[in-house]
């Protein structure tokens, strides 16, 4: 079974040379720490920066330089700042190749719910609806089940949707799955030490199992 860092490390393996990537808040943010050596990636933050660098050293923080999580950041050489309309032009126009974000629920057909729980305080969707409606390549990073132990991979989402038929891949603490339209969640990899039966038990939606399902490999960083 993976912890949050394990999920981030596995997702980092999906990064390809030359990708522009938008990382959501939470587990997705951790992905930036595990970019495979030898490939070039640029991180976009939808509040208006490309070429985001690590957090600043103490005393170097700049209130005018933050990421979409409102955290103080730094800018790498080659960075650029832009306004919010331009930022979402990049996103809607599919110039950002990969979006990684968290979810409360994902359905068999790739619907995602991650912004609102009826009866609870609603904080808003931020940029999530634009991101999921636009990205060609969306990976959801989340725990396989919620705090009550209920599956988050469902036949149909029960919560208000963020987007429809948009999620392509899901990486959880238990497994890597692909969404196959009109079929279900195709099991691609098991987390270390996790059995197909355990994954099946934690998945409410249709889990497609095709032959032997390999265990994830974590290549050492070269």
């Amino acid at each position: 079974m993976l912890d949050k860092i394990g999920i981030a490390k596995r997702i980092a393996q999906e990064l390809k040379d030359g990708f522009y990537v938008n990382l959501g808040i939470g587990i997705p943010t951790l992905v930036a720490n595990y970019v495979p050596k030898g490939i070039s990636i640029e991180f976009q933050s939808e509040n208006g920066i490309l070429g985001m660098g690590p957090f600043p050293f103490e005393g170097m923080e700049d209130p005018d330089l933050i990421n979409a999580g409102k955290q103080t950041i730094t800018a790498l050489d080659g960075a650029v700042y832009f306004d919010s309309a331009t930022s979402f032009a990049m996103i809607r126009g599919q110039h950002v190749q990969l979006t990684v974000l968290g979810a409360m629920e994902v359905s068999e057909n790739g619907d995602i719910a991650n912004w609102k729980i009826p009866g609870k305080m609603v904080k808003g969707m931020g940029g999530a609806m634009d991101l999921v409606a636009s990205a060609e390549n969306i990976i959801v990073a989340m725990m396989h089940t919620n705090k009550k132990g209920h599956s988050k991979l469902l036949k149909n989402c029960s919560l208000p949707l963020t987007g429809v038929a948009c999620v392509k891949k899901i990486v959880t603490n238990l497994a890597v799955m692909e969404v196959i339209p009109d079929e279900g969640f195709k099991l691609i990899e098991r987390a270390p030490g996790v059995t197909v039966q355990e994954i099946q038990a934690a998945t409410e939606g249709c889990l497609l199992i095709d032959g032997e399902v390999p265990e994830m490999q974590f290549a050492p960083r070269v």
């Binding site: 103080t72 306004d83 808003g124 969707m125 987007g163």
Partner: protein
Amino acid sequence: MIDKVVSSAHHALSGIKDGMTLMLGGFGICGIPENSIAELVKMKTNGLTCISNNAGVDDFGLGLLLKGKQIKKMISSYVGENEEFERQMLSGELEVDLIPQGSLAERCRAGGAGIPAFFTPAGFGTEVAEGKEARLFNGKPHILEHALHADFAIVKAWKGDAAGNLIYKATAKNFNPMMAMAGKITVAEVEELLPVGALDPNEIHTPGIFVQRIFQGEKYEKRIEQRTLRKT
């Protein structure tokens, strides 16, 4: 050159009345018009509709207007980190219209650019799309979103000149340029008001034509919402 300089926030905001619609730049509390918000608190104007990506924190930014119950309605994409906001929203005192962030940015730009409506994929199939026209383009569903306008747009820039030309710093740019375009009257407060001719015309982000009044802010606290540091 058309001179837009006014001497203070007080003069810049003259004409703002109860019930008006305001746009306020900023993302979180980064790049917000601090001096103008302080003046709005003093003015005690209420019944305001505020279009702003966020609603500040409890004791800074738009949180200050919430505290004084000056806001009737917020139009935002994300409103967390604010207890007073939550209380007013749950009690029904405060109306809240939540809009996807990209649609909010584009709707402000559209308002300033004379584009009354446009299609976007964001929100299709969600409650955001309810009551909105949907249409396929290249097989992909989109919804029709309308332009936003404001009686006053209040933005904050790093440098400005008397002609109203503005330059923003880093990610404090965010919503400010689009909102500057969309105000019937646009007020810009700047950290540094420079003589006309001091800004390189290649480096200006907001052309002065969009700005009706400009003033130098008295002081900038520029609070940080999430101070996050790297270990040495």
